[in-house]
C-alpha cells in the first residue's frame, strides 16, 4: 500500500510539468537549474583540485557520481572537456568499473554482498527475495525510484554474513526475512516523510 500511494503522488507530480511543456516552451524550474549549476561548479572544484596530478580520472568520476548520483553522458562529456581527455576514454573508464553507473539510482541502493562467505550463508536467497518483493532485477531500480537492487563484491565483513548494505550502512546477518524487515524500515521512514510534506 505504501508503495502505491507513493507512486500516485509521484505520478501527479510528474504530470504537471509534462502538460506544461506540451503547451509551450520547455522551461525548467529556476531552482532546479540553479541546483544543476551548483553541481557543476562543485564538480569544477574537484576537477581543478585533482587535475594537477596525472591519472586522477577515476577519483574525479567518483566525486562526480557522488554529486550527480550517476554519470549521465553530459557529465562524462563535461569531465572529458575539462580534463582534456578524449570522451571515448572517459566513457571507457566509466563502463569498465562496476562502481560507476550511467543510469540514475533509487534513493536507497541495496547492495547485497555476493562474496563467497555471504553466498554460502544464503545471499542468493536474500537476493531472490528482494528481487521478488520489489519486482526488479539485479541492477534495476523500482518504479518509484526508491530502491535499487544490486549485488556487490565482498565488503569483508564476513563474520556477519550475509550482508545487506543500504546506502553505505551495513546490516549484518541479513537472512531473507531479516532483509525484508530492513527494507520495510526504510519504506516506513519514507512514508512518514512524505506525510510530513
Amino acid at each position: 500500500m505504501v508503495q502505491e500511494t507513493y507512486l500516485n503522488k509521484k505520478a501527479r507530480e510528474s504530470e504537471i510539468p509534462e502538460s506544461f511543456v506540451y503547451g509551450g516552451i520547455p522551461e525548467e524550474k529556476p531552482d532546479e537549474k540553479k541546483i544543476q549549476e551548483n553541481k557543476f561548479s562543485e564538480l569544477d572544484r574537484y576537477i581543478n583540485l585533482y587535475k594537477k596530478e596525472p591519472g586522477q580520472l577515476i577519483i574525479i568520476l567518483q566525486k562526480a557520481q557522488d554529486i550527480f548520483g550517476h554519470l549521465p553522458e553530459e557529465v562524462q562529456a563535461y569531465i572529458a572537456e575539462k580534463t582534456g581527455t578524449p570522451v571515448s576514454e572517459v566513457n571507457g573508464v566509466v563502463t569498465f568499473y562496476s562502481l560507476f553507473s550511467t543510469e540514475p539510482r533509487g534513493k536507497y541502493t541495496l547492495d547485497i554482498c555476493m562474496g563467497t562467505a555471504c553466498y554460502i550463508k544464503g545471499a542468493q536467497e536474500l537476493m531472490d527475495t528482494l528481487k521478488d518483493n520489489l519486482q526488479v532485477d539485479a541492477g534495476e531500480t523500482t518504479r518509484n525510484r526508491l530502491f535499487t537492487v544490486k549485488s556487490t563484491r565482498c565488503i569483508g565483513a564476513c563474520g556477519l554474513a550475509p550482508i545487506l548494505v543500504v546506502n553505505g550502512e551495513v546490516h549484518g546477518n541479513a537472512s531473507s526475512g531479516e532483509g525484508m524487515k530492513i527494507i520495510q524500515k526504510y519504506r516506513k521512514g519514507e512514508d512518514s516523510e512524505s506525510k510530513k510534506h
Partner: protein
C-alpha cells in the same frame, strides 16, 4: 613537530608508552582504566561505534573522564563475536556488547570493580575472563597483526610508542639501501598477494634499474571474496604500511608512493588519509626526511570495483586512471611500471612484514615458518565455521589446527566438507588434507594456492558443483575481456556448469570441462584467466562423485541445486495441520484434515517455504527420489541409496 632523529622519536614514545605498557599487562603508574573498542569494519557494522559514543556520554554523566579513557582500536580478529571491547588493566575481554549494556558495564566494572560475567566470551561453556583463555587466540602467532587491537590506529604517537618509525630513522640516517635489501632477501619473505615471489629479489630488480623517477606501489585491491586481511591491516595499523613503503622508496630510489585501496573499504580509506596527514605533519613523509636529501610522499588511489585490478599490470593502468586491463609480462612492473617507469608493487601484508623484519632482525623472522615459506600468514576465516574472523599463524600450521582449534569447528554439528583457499583463483581442499602443513608449495601441490589468504569453510550442505559454478560466474563477470581464452572460455565453462546444476548435463560434459579448463589455464593472458579454472579443476579432482550425481543421477547430494531438488512430505510425521498448503505460493500442496498432505512435483517451485513452515519437520528436500533405469534411453534417474544404484 618535525621529527629529525631517533631522539625526537624517543620523546614521542615516552609520552605514549605508559598507555601501551598497561595494555601489554604491566602497571603504568597512571592509575587509569583504558577501554579499547574494536573499530574494524565488522565490529563497526555491529554498532561498536554506538557503544563507544554511549560509553563516552555515560562517563561524562558520571564524571569518570579522568579515570577512564576510551580508545578506538583495530581488529581483534574475533569478528563473529563482535563488537569486542577490551578493558585494561586486567585484559578483560568482553564480546557481543550492545549500546544497551553501557550502563551495566560502567556500574559493575568501572565503579564496583567487578567483571560483567554476562558479557564474557563463553569458551565451551567456560567463561573466559582473559584473552589468553580463549582457544581462538591460543594457537595464533601475531607478527603482522601485532598492533591490531593494541594501538589506536588514528594516533601516530601510539605507533611510535610501539617502536614504529625507529627502523626507518635508523635506515635513512645510517644505512645503505643494498644493506637493507640484503636483509629482506635473507629473511626469506615472499609476496603475500598469492604468487609468493621473493620480496627481496623484487626490490633488487627495482633498485637495479637505472631510470628515474621510480615508484612504490601498495596493492590493497583485495578482491577475493571472503578475504579481509589487507583491510584489517590498513584499518588497524596503517602506519606500518607507510613506514614499509618509505623504506622501500629509500632502498629502490623512489620519491613517490601510491596506495591503491578498494573504495568498498571506507574505514580503511579514512584511516589511511588520517595516517598520511599525521605522518606528513611529523615530517615522516614529505621533503627532506630526517634532515637528509631523501624525499618520499604517498598518495591514495581508490579502486572502482574491478577484480582484475588486483593483477599487477591491470593495477598499474588503474592507478593511472585508465581501464584496468592487464598487459603481457615482461616487461615486469619493476622494469616498466607507472608511466613507463620502474615500479615496485607489493601487497599490503607483504609491506606489513617489513618493519618487523627490520626491527627484530631477519634471523628472528626466519625462525618462523617452513623451509620454503618463512614467517607467518594472516588468514580470514569465513563460511561455515564457528569463529569467523581474522587469524595469524606461522607458515606450516595444519588446516586442522586452523579450522578446528582456532576456528572452533563447524556450527550445528554438521560435517566438514572442504576448505576453499585462494579465492576464485584457488581450489577446494577436501578432508583428507586437513593434516597438511600449509605453505606456498604444499597448497600448490594439492591444486589450490595460498592466494591472499581467504579461507572459506564448507560443510555437507554446500554443493561443490554449485561452488565451482559460483566462482566461475564471478571470474566470468570480472573477466576484463581483453583475451579470448578468458573472455569466451570462462563463459563456456559457466554454461556447462550451469547445465550440470540444472540437471541437463551429460557425461561427456565432464571431459569437455576438463579440457576447456586446462586450455583456459594455459592460454590466458593474466593471472585472472590462468587461475580461473582452478575451482573447477580442484572440485573435479576431489568431488567428482558430486558431478556424477548431478549428471547421471540428476540429483544434488547436498540439497542446493534447486532444479534437482525433490520435496516430499514424510507421511508418518505429517500432522495434517495444513500450514504448508497455506504457505505454498504455487498451490502445489494438497490435502485435507486428518490426511497426510502431498506435494505435486510438477507444480512445485522448490522455494522451500513449506520446509521452513512445517512444525513437524516432515518435509524433506533432496535425495528422496527412487532410483530407476529408463530402459529405452539407458539413463539412470533419481538417486536412491548406494545399493539401489548398484543393483541397476
Amino acid at each position: 613537530m618535525k621529527v629529525k632523529n631517533t631522539e625526537d622519536l624517543r620523546e614521542i614514545k615516552d609520552e605514549f608508552f605508559p598507555l601501551i605498557k598497561q595494555r601489554m599487562g604491566y602497571s603504568n603508574g597512571l592509575g587509569i582504566t583504558q577501554v579499547l573498542v574494536c573499530s574494524g569494519t565488522a565490529c563497526s557494522s555491529a554498532e561498536s561505534q554506538d557503544f563507544r559514543l554511549e560509553l563516552e556520554r555515560e562517563l561524562d554523566r558520571r564524571n569518570l573522564r579522568d579515570n577512564v579513557r576510551v580508545f578506538k582500536t583495530g581488529c581483534f580478529g574475533f569478528c563473529q563475536h563482535g563488537p569486542i571491547i577490551m578493558v585494561h588493566p586486567g585484559e578483560v575481554f568482553y564480546s557481543k556488547v550492545r549500546p544497551e549494556d553501557v550502563k551495566e558495564f560502567v556500574e559493575t566494572h568501572l565503579i564496583s570493580g567487578r567483571v560483567v560475567e554476562r558479557l564474557l566470551y563463553q569458551n565451551n561453556g567456560q567463561k573466559a575472563n582473559n584473552i589468553e583463555d580463549i582457544n581462538f587466540f591460543k594457537a595464533q602467532k601475531r607478527i603482522v597483526l601485532r598492533n591490531c587491537g593494541v594501538i589506536d590506529p588514528e594516533e601516530i604517537g601510539e605507533y611510535i610508542a610501539r617502536d614504529g618509525y625507529f627502523a626507518l630513522a635508523d635506515i635513512i640516517l645510517n644505512k645503505k639501501p643494498a644493506e637493507i635489501i640484503d636483509r629482506i632477501n635473507k629473511s626469506g619473505l615472499r609476496g603475500r598477494g598469492g604468487a609468493g615471489f621473493p620480496t627481496g629479489l623484487k626490490w633488487e630488480l627495482a633498485a637495479g634499474q637505472n631510470v628515474s623517477p621510480k615508484y612504490v606501489l601498495c596493492n590493497g585491491d583485495e578482491g577475493d571474496p571472503g578475504a579481509f586481511m589487507d583491510r584489517s591491516i590498513l584499518e588497524g595499523d596503517p602506519h606500518s604500511i607507510l613506514e614499509a613503503m618509505t623504506v622501500a622508496g629509500y632502498c629502490i630510489g623512489a620519491a613517490q608512493g601510491y596506495i591503491y585501496v578498494r573504495a568498498e573499504y571506507p574505514i580503511a580509506v579514512e584511516r589511511l588519509e588520517t595516517a598520511i596527514d599525521q605522518a606528513r605533519e611529523y615530517g615522516l613523509l614529505g621533503k627532506n626526511l630526517f634532515g637528509t636529501s631523501f624525499d618520499f610522499d604517498i598518495g591514495l588511489r581508490l579502486g572502482a570495483g574491478a577484480f582484475v585490478c588486483g593483477e599487477e599490470t591491470a593495477l598499474l593502468h588503474s592507478v593511472m586512471g585508465q581501464r584496468g586491463e592487464p598487459r603481457p609480462r615482461p616487461p615486469y612492473p619493476a622494469q616498466e611500471g607507472l608511466w613507463g617507469k620502474p615500479t615496485l608493487i607489493s601487497n599490503v601484508e607483504t609491506y606489513a612484514n617489513i618493519p618487523v623484519i627490520l626491527r627484530e632482525g631477519w634471523e628472528w623472522y626466519k625462525g618462523h615458518g617452513t623451509s620454503s615459506s618463512k614467517g607467518s600468514k594472516v588468514f580470514s576465516l569465513a563460511g561455515k565455521i564457528n569463529n569467523t574472523g581474522l587469524i595469524e599463524v606461522p607458515m606450516g600450521t595444519s588446516l586442522r589446527t586452523i579450522v578446528f582449534d582456532i576456528g572452533g569447528g563447524i556450527p550445528g554439528g554438521k560435517k566438514f566438507k572442504a576448505v576453499q583457499t585462494g579465492g576464485p583463483s584457488g581450489g577446494c581442499i577436501p578432508e583428507k588434507y586437513l593434516e597438511l602443513p600449509i605453505d606456498y608449495e604444499s597448497l600448490k601441490e594439492i591444486g589450490s594456492m595460498m592466494g591472499s589468504g581467504g579461507m572459506i569453510v564448507m560443510d555437507e550442505e554446500n554443493c561443490m558443483v554449485d561452488i565451482a559454478r559460483f566462482y566461475v560466474e564471478f571470474t566470468q563477470d570480472e573477466s576484463c575481456g581483453r583475451c579470448t581464452p578468458c573472455r569466451v572460455g570462462t563463459k563456456r565453462l559457466l554454461e556447462i556448469l550451469k547445465r550440470i546444476t540444472e540437471g541437463k548435463g551429460e557425461m561427456e560434459d565432464l571431459e569437455l570441462l576438463e579440457k576447456l579448463a586446462f586450455d583456459i589455464r594455459d592460454a590466458s593472458l593474466c593471472g585472472l584467466g590462468q587461475t580461473a579454472p582452478n575451482p573447477v579443476i580442484s572440485t573435479m579432482r576431489y568431488f567428482k562423485e558430486e558431478y556424477i550425481a548431478h549428471i547421471r543421477d540428476k540429483t544434488c547430494p547436498a540439497g542446493v541445486c534447486k532444479a534437482l531438488l525433490d520435496f516430499t512430505i514424510d507421511e508418518a510425521k505429517c500432522a495434517a495441520c495444513g500450514l504448508c498448503a497455506k504457505v505454498c505460493a504455487a498451490g502445489a500442496i494438497t490435502g485435507a484434515g486428518g490426511q497426510p498432505y502431498r506435494i505435486d512435483p510438477d507444480k512445485c517451485l522448490k522455494c522451500a517455504a513449506c520446509v521452513a513452515k512445517c512444525p513437524k519437520k516432515a518435509i524433506t528436500k533432496g535425495v528422496r527420489k527412487e532410483a530407476v533405469n529408463i530402459a529405452e534411453t539407458g539413463i539412470h534417474t533419481g538417486t536412491g541409496s548406494q545399493e539401489e544404484r548398484a543393483a541397476l
